[in-house]
Subunit: 320 residues, 3 copies
């Protein structure tokens, strides 16, 4: 899948589909732009007129109240008009119909698609086929990528830890099926962390996972040694019913983050989770709500990061 | 359930959860503020910039097109951004998950929750646990309270009858299950009416109903004597299938308001109903659409009252 | 059904329910007004403040993402507040309840209803019974009319062909069940085209179809002779299961528009379709996406036409 279509000839952001193919300075520009938006959410009037008169379409083929909500809020705080469409994939099961939907929305002079789809590559497909004046933001496609989640996590890490270069980051859980994990690993490596370590049972790791630029541990206690940042992944309930895992309680015993196991990481390690959390499955409530957790800070930063990415994508088309 | 959390240390409105624990002068302030908003709905541009840049979340765990619509219109006419979330209670069946939903929305820098929930006390629960900068408005919780409905009815009564002190008000129908009735009785007594009389079969009255500050009648014709204001309650169809009532037609014969039975009230009595009305069940169409009915005026006043309560709750936090 | 209620005493547009009963100069005024809105969709800020502070209610009793979306975008680009209500007809199966819904929305000081309903005459019914300050726009009622679709098609034809008076227009497909066809035929005749020709199997034509002011052909190849404008109709899948048609492939063989059959029309003939298209049923993809197709231009023009009709209807009530 080519990712060059993400950048315009001047190397500026046009679509935001995946971390792959981007570069360190662009990621830093996104983080810096988000920094400038952080204050807006604290103001009396939480709005800037940057995208006034623009129409942003939330194209959600997969249900996600949380992600849809943050994109909608981010768009409204940029003063854009938002059109939210929840489309069951059944009604657009044929590729042709998806394209017809896109063509029709283009013809209505919309400016941006925020796409969530159960099929890996759906956002790329739309970006490849849409009109030149339209930007596409990937809000999660299959098991491929969730790059805005990765960027809000990078923002949160930088906010607290300042410098990426000395950090050791652990990603714990179902790496195999996680679009979040893929995007996190790429972003962390691009920003130059000292180490990305994945911690998971073998059944939840892709083959040749080391080739992604990570070290591997199958033991939570050992794996947490020297770790500065812990990124927990949500364990999808449907994995349990498959042959991949013995049981919820068994999983929690081996890979669930508790106050006890957390002690194996550095004392100032932070705990992150993309949400929604399964309390008592991958993480204990005492940790999720504890002093090292920055889970809600991630949610807050999600608004600023999405504002930044939307504003940058619109700007680089020369339409701002 | 403590209601002090409704007021800030200066005694100003912070949350609006129930009439209980408020006071006469605050209710009058709400009515006066609504009065100042009435004109806006008649203007060419039905908008004031009072809540511009604020984010109001409609958290409806129970379906209600009418109430949700009036809150949404009220918020938009105050220039707020509105996020409407219809949440099936099944997906938040655990108290923990409800709190996680609230925490996440807080982290998105929203300013107000308008809550509708099938469980009594849900709005209180959210107000008790939410961040200090957020206001909670109860849009109906279980069989407990529906205070904005009560206030729009108080507004309508004052609009027509001017003075509360000499009024005799009848509330007719299913008092037992009605959150509207509970809030009306409290508001009417707080504003100092001469009498609140409930008229219903014994099976639809709570035990010790007199302790709420009402007189009781089980006979519609007798009960309407000397009445200035008639508040009809909607009869939920599901009551019919229970053992509480014989049949719809039987109920209508005994407690349905018709042109004939209406003659037992004062000649200038007004007829109110919170809607949606069951024509031919609790009220005859000739009365609902007749000259003494103020049912549609209630709907109109609902916008102004909700604007007033939202604006006051935001103001008292010092965020306006 | 009287259509005079569409015009106010000065002959200006108040409701827009059907082409019937309107006149040529009014249709031209709509087209000219839409012309003035076309540019807005290309501007950096796609918004005019014409309907700021007005509340437009999308009352969709029948599902239609596309039509609802264009009305919503048109309203937002006029700076109106939009309330979208999807109402299942089951909950308003009784005429009384529909009226109660309307009365309640009126009482909330809304300014316009955009109505879509499966029953012919629904928009008329609402216009007849609604408050004098409210405008009603028909967004499709049963098999009766879809006048905004007709007007956007007239706009598209005029844009390309300039003069109506020499045009021969073919409408092809299920004339019998099509509200689009009815409105198109009326508008084309009112604007003075040389000929409207319907091309369809006998089972898909109404009895006495000539009385509508059309010529008739049952053969696609012959019927396309001398044609300047081709309007394809969508073939509803449910017709197939009835006795009216043999099979999808059989229909496509006889009445499907292909590159080959298209050659029978004039070389500069344009191909239109109200969408959504059934590729390979009534139209071949090569034609739908080919150089003579103006299908996406129709979608674009739909925004400007709806902006024009909404703005005119509000203006003629003297509320602008």
């Amino acid at each position: 899948m080519s990712d060059n279509l993400q950048l315009n000839p001047e190397g500026k952001l046009k679509h935001f589909l995946t971390i792959e193919g981007l570069n360190k300075s662009l990621l830093q520009e996104i983080l810096d732009t988000a920094e400038s938006f952080i204050g807006i959410n604290d103001q009396q009037i939480k709005k800037v007129p940057l995208l006034r008169g623009k129409t942003i379409v939330n194209l959600f083929f997969e249900n996600s109240t949380r992600t849809r909500t943050t994109f909608e809020l981010a768009a409204k705080r940029l003063s854009a008009d938002v059109l939210s469409m929840s489309i069951s994939t059944s009604s657009t099961s044929k590729g042709e119909s998806l394209l017809d939907t896109i063509r029709n929305l283009e013809a209505m002079f919309v400016d941006m698609f925020v796409v969530r789809h159960a099929i890996s590559g759906a956002a790329h497909f739309i970006a490849q086929h849409t009109a030149p004046h339209i930007s596409v933001i990937n809000a999660g496609d299959g098991q491929h990528a969730h790059p805005t989640q990765a960027m809000l996590d990078m923002f949160t890490i930088r906010q607290i830890k300042k410098d990426f270069s000395r950090l050791r980051v652990a990603i714990i859980g179902d790496i195999l099926h996680s679009r979040v994990a893929r995007s996190e690993i790429q972003a962390l490596n691009m920003l130059g962390v000292a180490e990305v370590r994945v911690i998971a049972p073998k059944t939840l790791l892709p083959a040749h996972v080391e080739s992604l630029g990570v070290t591997v541990s199958h033991n939570l206690t050992e794996g947490l040694a020297d770790i500065d940042v812990i990124i927990m992944l949500r364990l999808q309930k449907e994995r349990m019913s498959s042959a991949l895992l013995p049981s919820e309680s068994e999983y929690f015993k081996c890979f669930g983050l508790t106050e006890d196991t957390l002690k194996n990481a550095k004392p100032d390690a932070i705990v992150m989770h993309p949400g929604p959390i399964n309390r008592g499955v991958e993480i204990d409530s005492k940790v999720a709500d504890g002093p090292q957790s920055v889970i809600l800070k991630q949610v807050s930063n999600g608004i600023a990061i999405r504002m930044a990415i939307m504003a940058m994508a619109m700007q680089k088309q020369g339409s701002l």
